[in-house]
Each structure stands twice: as C-alpha cells, then as structure tokens.
Symmetry: C2
C-alpha cells in the first residue's frame, strides 16, 4: 500500500516532461531537497544540525541502497538479505499465490533458505558510479533542427549505454543507464550492479501491513507493518553483501536528525506554468478512467473469493494512484501554488528572454497545446490504455521486439535497444500467472473507453468494433491467445519477424494491426512535443545554472538521492500531531472488518506484547513515490525506520515542498522487532538480523 | 439518453448558486438567449429575421408547452396527447417493466386507450400566469442581517406560494411556485395548471431511440428516434387540450427560423469568477464518484440479464451526466473562457464598488472558500451521497416529514412546506419497483466513499462502520427494511412523529441517527454560504439592472423560456457539418451490436422505407438540459422538430454561448411519421395526429 506511485515502465513515454527551476526557487532551505550523492549539501547540514556526513558515509550508504523495479530497498545482512515494504513485494506475493493459497493476504515466511521463492519479475540494482556525459550528449545534438536533435539524442544515449556496458566486461558486469538531471541540464551514465535473482523471505499479512487500507492511506497517525524481507542471489547462492546496514531497534528520538536514501520516482517542481496547466487538464482524464476501473474491480471482486483474490493487487495499486493524482489535482487547482510558480517563472524569463529573441517558455507552451491534442490518442493507442491487458502487452512486446531487433541497436525505439533487452526478456519469459477473467475485464473496459473518447467512427475503432462489442472482442482475444504460456512467448520471441508474420494468434494479429497507428501517434508526439520541450528545457536549464549553479537539487527521476530531516509531527488545523504511534491504539482501532482488522497472529499474542511499542513515525524528510522501502538512517547510518508513505500533504510535494505540513511516514524498528521475535515464527530471519528471541 | 442533465429534485440544495451579469455581457446578439415569455425580443427578431411574433402567438405556444418532472413536452392533440423524448419517459418505462418484460429496451405501444399505463411519479405542468412579487420579497428581508434575511426570504416565499394556491381555490386549482430570476434581481410566482395523472402511450425500442448510445451522445450527425408519446388525464379521462400544437411533417428548410419553447434547467453564465473556480475544484470530485459508480453498474450488469435490466436506466442517466460534467470541466479549465469572465466582471465591479465600500464579489469569494470546505460533508451527509439508495431516501423523507409537519408550514424546510407536500406524497406513495440488489450496490458504494472522504475517524462514520463493512451494513439495511412496500411508507407517513419514534425499521433508525448531522451541515451551508451568496447576488443584480435593464436574459432555472434560431450546421475543424441526416446512413452504421443496432422492427421493413427520409437535424437554438422534449416550432407555431440533445460544443453553454459551434439537435418530423405509419403498429396514435397510414 501507500507510497508506491508506480513509475511508468521503462518503455513508457511520459507525456509531460519537466523543465528547470524558476529563478526565485530559492536554494533549498528548511530540510527540503532530494540531493544527488555527488552534490549533497554536507556543509549546510553541519551548519544547521551540527551533524557531520563524510564521503565515506556517503559511499557506504550508497552501496547499501537498492533500487527495485518499483521501489527502494537496502541490504540488511551480509548474505544478501533485503528490507523493503510489503507493498513493494505485493506483485511478487500475488504472483506466487494461487487459488486457495493467498500469499498477498496471508503473508509468507520461508522456514528454510530452500523455501525462499524467486520473484520472477523483480531485480535489485546498486549504484556503483555516476559518470557525467553532458558534453557528449550536447555535442551530438549541436546545430541540428529540433526533430533531428531529438532523434540524435536518443541515438547517442543508446550508444553511450552500450559502450559503457561493453567496457565493464562480463566478469563484473554493469547495467549502464542514461540519466537526465536538471531537466536536461546534465546528462549522466549511472553504472549499476544488478542482481536479477531476488527471492521473497518474509512478509506479514496484508491486514497488518496495510492496516486501515485505502481510507488510511496517506494518513498519519498510522499503524502499518508495511515491511517485507527479500534476498539477493548470485549464481544460485545468497549474494555476499558485507556492506549492509544495521538496525538501531530502539529507533530515533523526536527532533533527531534522520536521513532517507532512495529513489524518488518523479517530481514536477520545475515545470513551466504552461506544463502545469496541461497537467490540470490531463489529470482529470486519467482520474475518470481510473475511478471507473476501480468500480469495475470492486464489483468484480464481490463475485467470488477467487475473483477477489486476482484483482486485489491491481486494485490496491490503482487506489493508491487515485489518491495521489486526486491530491495532485487539488494542488494544481490551488491558486496560491500557481501564483508562486508564475512569479518565479516571470523573473527568470524576463532575465533570460530578450525582446524578439528565442523564448523557450513560449515554445513549450505551444508544444503543450499539441500535447493536449495528442493526449487522448497517445494514451489509448501508444500507451495502450485501449488495450489494457497483460496478454496484449506481451503481444505488443513480441510484435515490436521482432521489428526493432531487425535494426541496429541505436536506431531502435529506446526500450528495445541492446542494453534494455536482458530485463525485457526476463520479464517477457517470467512464468507468472495470467488471469483470463481479469484480462477480459480490463481489456473490455479499455476498448469501451477508447470507443467513447476516440469516437465510434475513428478508423482504428471501426476496424476493431465494426462487428463485435467490447465484451465480445475481449473474450475472443483472451480465450483465443496462447500467450499466457511463457514457452509460447519465448518461441515467438526467438522466431523473430518470421514467427510474427506466421502467427495466427489473435492477440498477435491485433497487436500487428494496431502497431502502425501507435507508431504514428508516437512519432507525432516525439517530433511535435518531446523535441520542442527537450530543447526548451535545455535552454531554461542553462539560464538557471547561470543564476544558481547546483545550489539546488534536480527534480526526482527514480535515481538515487539522499535527503535529511528530523523526527517531527506537524500542526493540523490547530492540533499538534505527535510523531510516534504505539501498538495499543492499533488494537483499539481494529473493528474486526477489513481494512481495520488486526490479524489473528497478532490478536492471539496480544497479551504478551508491549502495548507501548512504537509502531509508525513521522519526519519532515522530502520524499515521493519511489522512496517506498527506503531505509531511514541516523547519523551513524543505522536503520531507524522504514519509509512507506507520506501524510496527505506530502502529495503536493510533486509540485512544491510544504515545509509546514509535508511529512514522511515510516515503520518504526521497534514494531519490526516485535513482529520478528514475538508474533511470527521467523526465528531464522531474526537471528540473521542479530535478534535473539 | 442525451440532454437530460437531470435537475436536482425540488428539495435538493444546489451548492453553487448563481450571480448576475458582468457589464460587458453585451445584450444578446446572434441568436443567443433563453428569454422569459414576458420579455421576448420580438423587435430584434423582426429586424434580424423578418419574422413577426405576436402576443397571441406567445400565449398559444406558452399554454401548449408542458413542464414534466425532468423535461419539457407539448400537447399534440385535443385529447391530451403529449410529445416528449424517449429518454424523458425512460424512468416510467423502467418502472412499468418487470423481469422478462423490458419496456425500456423493447418499447411500448398501447393498442387501446385502456392499455395506456400511468407513470406514477410523472406530472405535467402548464404555465398559466407569471406574477411579479419582487417588492414583497425585498420588503421581507430589508434591514435584516444576512442569516436572518436568508431565513426570512424562505419564509415569505412559502407564505406567498400558499396564499396564491389558496386564492386560486379548488375548482380550477393552481400550483404556485416562487421563481428567482436574474440571480435574485426579480422574484416571481409562477402559476401552473398541474396534471398529475400522466400515462405512457407510445415508445420505440431503446436501440433506435438512443442509436449510438453513450458514444454518440452529444454528437451530430446523429440518428436517434428519441421520442415518446404520453397522455394527460383528468378525473380518469383524457384531458381536454384544444390548444395543442400541430405537426408540419415535412420539417423546416435549411436556414429557416425556428423556435424552441421549454424549460432549460440550469445555466451558470452569470457566476462570479470565484464561483467558477469553486466549480473547477468541485466538479472533479463529482466526476470521480460518478465514474466509479459507472464502473460498478457496468460490471454488475454483466452478471445476468435481470441485473442488466435493473441498472440500465440509472446507468444511462449517469453516463449522460458524466459527459455533461466532463465537458463542463473542460470549459472551466479553458483559459480563454475564464479571461473573458474576468474582464467582464472587472468592469462591472470597478463601476460598482467604491473604495472601502461593500464588495459583493469579495463577499461571495469568501463564501466560496467556505463552500469548498463544506462540500464533502454536505454532499455525503445532507445530499445523502453517502446513503445512495432509494430505500434510504424514503426513510429520510419519512423522518424529516414527521419532524417538519409538526411545525407551521412557513417554518419548515422549504421542501416540506404545505404547497410542496402533494407532489412529495404522490412520489412517496407511488407503487414503483425497488430493487434490493441495486440498492445494496449503490448504498455500499456510498458508504465506502463516505468513509474514504470523511475519514474512518469521523464520528458519523465510526457510528456506522465500527462493526460492519460497507457491504455488510448495506445488506442488513436493505434486507431488513420494509420501506419497499408503499403501504408501509403510507402508514408511517400518516402516523407522523409517533410512528417514526416507534419504528424499528433499520432504515428508519439509520435515517433518524443521520438526521442531526445532516441538519447541522445544512444549516452551516445556509448561514455561511447561501445567505452570503444570495445577498451578494442581489447587489450585483441591482448593479447590472442599472447598467443593462432587461435587455438581457436571466440564467436558466427550469422555468419557461423561448428562444429563436435557424436550421444550420457548423464548421468542425474545417469540415462543414450538414444540418440534416437521413435514414439510409443509420442502417449503414448499424453493426448489429449495442449500441449501434437498428432494431428488428426497422430492419424487417427496410425495403419499404424511404431511405432519404430525414432523421435528425441541427439548429443554432440556445438550449440546455431540461429542454429535452421541447417542441421545435416554425413561425406558424407548427412542430418541425423534437429537441433531444445538443452537439458536444453545446455543453459549454452552461457558461457561455459559443455562436460558432453550439448547436441544438432534434428529431425530424419525417422520421416520426415513418415510425408511426410504417414501422410500428401505432395506427391509433397516428390517426389521432391526423396521419393516414
């Protein structure tokens, strides 16, 4: 649950890109700031809080911090044990479940090392090096027109990634990813060590992991044991990870300085006002579709226990995203926020743009109008919201993968370049369950809304639905396809274009038919929006660097950041919120009905547990979705919390940092100790963490 | 389907009230304008179009125009025959259906007069007189503080209504309703003759009435036979209505002047910019709930034919409202619209407000912030979105009705005053079906969202859901109540407060428990929002009258209006849309699957029908939801169309009139003639309309 504003998959285009700081975006004061490790404001920290952070501290923490596919995590033992949130392992728990054995709801404890089960689509990355390649990227695009420059930028990034991975060799291989910071003001190659065998070791029941469910999500006070324990493997054995982080089981004091290391997914604090207004228009479009899908899932879940089980994981993710977007929209419609952005932008703009000269803000504004026009077809066709189905996504990967692999790596769509293929193939071939009933639901929904928004006379819609209802088409595709079988997917993938051409699989046929439409709208978007915005951003970034240097931090990009703050509550409408909760109140608040039900494992032991044990805590760290699973550290780099959420005000952090009210919410170590030593039969894990029962 | 943006029931408060014209709102040019019959711009019409409209013409048309509970209609025979839309009769068709006999889907034809079936909750009002009572209302509030004035205004309106009905006597009784025009600048009593026995005579199949369904809703070109025929009865016999309107079956020519008489429901063209911004915030809240309910209905409808049938009518209404609100939100987020409003408001305001003096715009803006705070509790508790269930609405009417009837009429909540009671009792006692499965769905949904938005720790939520899940509570209330039986409702109503106090019906108990919470938030809203807004509006109206007099028209209030326009298409992105469609294309566009399926009755006769018969037409009349069912008339007051929708641009008509693109969509008389004489066995009705087969 909670802070897993899931990132777009690596291959999804993000429609609204981001732009550099307004001039009056003062160098971060308060404890605001998602700092890159190469630009951490150690001096400011020392001045304000009297805490010294050394380069060695930074290296140690960096190499113990993990990026999962969708979250953050950290090493907590020398044998590859990993701490993250329950909601970060939710997909894995759903994948290893089956009818009558619901790991997501009931939890999972591996009694022996042999019982640790692989999470087929998960991986763990550790950032080993940050290489600045700004000059190379700039040189590749210099002097070119916008569209050509945009294509050239993609090409050189693929080339740089491939060269980096080749140089690392195969003995200690690296995954190299290009990273754009400061809205294109800096380009980096991030060198990761990747563990692609990650197994689940421990997870509590959903009822206590997400106690309070969606109603309590993004709330504090809170009582969630939102934790899971995984393990990284190499060559079939637990990975050696001597540089792990230790727990301080007593946790931090109020006002103590604490650090959050992790991968904040995405912030939009530096968008131009034109881009914010576009979000104001496009967010309700997303929310309406999400709300309807939520209703369909909920009603479907009432038709039987198994149906309830198979939609639980996507429904939880969806509800989390709905809450995020809903509060983001509130912020976007907040006149005081917009007024501050207008002022800041006006200052930098008037300083930068000479009369009659180039005006990147105006260029971006024009591109945003085009963005608004393209948003509906792009969403339904290229982002495939009209074909909302796991089976369709397989088909589309196969169809595109065949076409793209026939080209040189750097000429492909970026998500099919050679460096991107290993993970793509891992996920394509992963033997994870596919649920036909669920796919029919989502696919029918997608088709029906696509017809509504594109209109029944759109040629693609006519092609698809001239003779079938959305329900009929969805049923015939899902029932007819064989792509639920990983072996079939592998065979088609390995067969390349010939296998695609020869396939009579109905889902492959549909994906083949849709692909030209999708490529067309994608190219329109890239040429008419992305190319203009990227070029505009670069110019604005240059103006901003001239004014402020790197005394500010870049917007979040699901890359490694460190921030500091202190343990504290806040003032909510005149009432001071205390920064710690205790176990006793969780039992008092339990109604016995989902989502306010303490599970039997806890109620059975209730009399033996310390009711004063601290459960969750709040701090003023500056985080955002993607930071889920981040370790919270004290000045000694000991774990004193496990970040899993923010309070409701934290959602406005997408656009600005509200010092007074934006708070991070974490699991307290004390409740994790209670869980591992008193509630669950988890002696093996507890011992590995140095806990005697 | 379509243009039935259903009005709030008479007793529902509308959260955002409306305010007077900005100064630069130029006297209506083009063919814009929803004119009251006492202020129709006959001279302007003569100058522009050379058409003469006499007072006799106006009287004739006025007394042939009907206000239904939710729509407009007109008399079309001397024996009470009424023409309206299919979607205006949809609730009636659903009410007279049962499992295995679906009148909404399959249509209805009364072969004899005896087979005409009463629509239990329907009525037909004809406006007989408009009495200006502005002076009396103003006198009642003069010199009072805002809250007291607001209470006094309600009281005097109830007194005036009661006195008017008493004066009319019982021989030819009148229903007297107070009407506020020009945002409180004028107050009227409208005297209606009411027919409360309305029966269904003819309706085609849903498939052709709403051909194209939701995807085509608010679109043109279009092919919908959105018609129904009803009949007014008095004393058990067809009403004598000699002043009926005749058809011109050949319809109008392109560019011919046409008139629409009817009851546009609600426009917000004169809101202050502060009020518009509040709508911008509150509309997404509505849309998200509506979209989720849509998803729940759709998924429920897939679980069986009977379940499909029982949600069809509310789902259609909901989808229509979603489309309206969605496009309204687009307009509210349109910077050019807002800029024009800001300019107009600034001019009137700077002319009106002296430095340091009273500023009604500022007062309203402050009240709007309070409105935004109260919106969530008001919506869930007082508007009962948290208790979304027909059975709960009965319970609440009974609980409140008992408490209110114990007071003098003018001290009651207005919807329980003596003049309001006859209709309220008719609807309470109407023997219409209640569907427990549907009520459980909507009630569970309401409770779940109320918990989400008010929070699990809100005292009302805690009271309700401390021991039950929303599903459990909904099931126990719906299964336990006896209020589905009209006799039980009548008994409790007649038993007054004693019957309420003694009742052990679970729905009555819940309504009793909720009522204090609901009254509290309603009073907060009335005192802190409504009172301030109404007073501010009166001041702005006075300023506007000083500048413009009545050379402009008041916002729509579901009261009788007349407007003129011409038959024409529009230019859509460079393509000229032709204003007429023909029968041939409907068949070509039929896929055989809902919602693009011409029914068997039509396909069976296809070879015998004139494929060039005109089907629908578009005009530039200025209408809005509530005008559904309006007759479209030529200069001779002959029916040349049946209004049922607008094009997609017409939805922005809530806020401004887009001369270039806002179009009305109507059923052409030619297709009605084909239907009545060639397709359906409707000889009896056809003969009454003067049509030989």
């Amino acid at each position: 649950m909670s802070f897993s504003r899931l990132l777009p998959p690596a291959f999804a285009l993000v429609l609204v890109a981001t732009v550099a700081f307004g001039l009056t975006a003062r160098p971060a004061r308060a404890d605001e700031g998602m700092w890159t490790y190469d630009n951490f404001p150690a001096a400011a920290l020392r001045d304000k809080h009297g805490v010294e952070i050394t380069p060695a501290w930074l290296d140690r923490v960096r190499t113990a911090t993990i990026r999962l596919a969708n979250c953050t995590a950290s090493f907590i033992s020398a044998e590859g044990l990993i701490l993250s949130n329950h909601h970060c392992a939710a997909s894995c728990l759903a994948q290893i479940s089956k009818e009558g054995q619901d790991r997501l709801q009931d939890g999972f404890i591996a009694g022996t090392r042999e019982q640790e089960v692989r999470c087929e689509t998960q991986y763990a990355d550790v950032l080993m090096r940050m290489e600045n390649v700004t000059d190379k990227v700039t040189a590749a695009t210099a002097g070119k027109d916008l569209k050509t420059a945009n294509d050239a930028r993609k090409k050189v990034l693929t080339q740089l990634e491939a060269a980096c991975e080749k140089a690392a060799g195969t003995k200690d291989p690296r995954r190299c990813e290009s990273v754009s910071l400061y809205q294109g003001g800096q380009h980096f190659l991030y060198h990761y060590k990747r563990y692609n065998d990650v197994r689940i070791v421990f997870a509590p029941e959903y009822a206590v992991a997400a106690f309070g469910g969606d109603p309590d999500n993004f709330q504090f006070p809170r009582w969630c044991l939102d934790m899971s324990i995984l393990r990284a493997y190499e060559n079939g054995k637990p990975a050696a990870t001597p540089n792990f982080l230790k727990f301080n089981w007593d946790g931090p004091k109020e006002n103590e300085v604490v650090f959050v290391t992790g991968h904040p997914g995405s912030t939009d604090r530096q968008l131009t006002t034109a881009q914010l207004k576009t979000q104001r228009i496009e967010t309700p479009f997303w929310l309406q579709r999400a709300a309807e899908l939520r209703g369909r899932y909920i009603q479907f879940s009432k038709t039987g226990a198994e149906n309830d089980r198979i939609v639980a994981d996507p429904l939880n993710s969806l509800e989390n995203s709905i809450k995020v977007r809903r509060k983001e929209l509130d912020t976007l419609l907040d006149d005081s926020m917009m007024a501050q952005k207008v002022t800041a932008e006006g200052q930098l703009r008037s300083r930068t743009v000479s009369s009659g000269g180039a005006d990147p803000w105006a260029d971006i504004e024009k591109a945003m109008h085009r963005d608004e026009e393209l948003n509906v077809p792009f969403t339904f066709i290229e982002s495939a919201a009209g074909f909302n189905s796991a089976l369709y996504r397989y088909a589309r990967t196969l169809v595109r993968g065949a076409a793209e692999r026939a080209k040189p790596s750097e000429d492909r769509l970026r998500e099919y370049s050679d460096p991107a293929l290993p993970l793509l193939v891992q996920q394509l071939n992963a033997p994870v369950p596919v649920y036909p009933a669920r796919d029919k639901l989502t696919l029918s929904f997608g088709l029906e809304r696509m017809r509504e928004y594109l209109g029944p006379d759109h040629p693609l819609v006519r092609n698809l639905l001239a003779e079938f209802s959305p329900d009929e088409l969805a049923a015939s595709l899902v029932d007819g396809t064989k792509l639920g079988d990983p072996a079939v997917r592998k065979q088609i993938w390995d067969g390349g274009q010939a296998a695609i051409d020869a396939s009579t699989d109905p889902m492959i046929r549909i994906a083949r038919m849709v692909d030209p439409y999708a490529r067309t709208v994608r190219k329109q978007y890239e040429d008419e929006v992305e190319a203009v915005v990227d070029a505009g951003q670069e110019k604005i970034a240059a103006a901003r660097f001239a004014a402020l240097g790197t005394s500010v931090y870049p917007d979040a990009t699901f890359t490694l950041r460190l921030n500091y703050g202190t343990v504290q509550g806040w003032n909510e409408g005149g009432t001071q919120v205390v920064p710690f909760t205790q176990l006793a109140r969780a039992f008092e608040r339990s109604t016995g009905r989902e989502p306010f039900r303490m599970p039997d494992s806890w109620t059975a032991k209730r009399d033996q547990l310390d009711m004063n044990a601290r459960f969750n805590l709040s701090t003023n760290n500056d985080i955002v979705g993607g930071n889920s699973g981040s370790p919270m550290l004290n000045a000694k780099a000991e774990i004193v919390g496990l970040v899993f959420d923010g309070n409701i005000h934290s959602i406005s952090g997408s656009f600005w940092f509200d010092t007074a009210k934006n708070r991070t919410v974490a699991v307290h170590p004390a409740i994790m100790r209670v869980a591992l030593t008193q509630v669950y039969p988890a002696q093996r894990v507890a011992a590995e963490l140095g806990l005697a029962k």
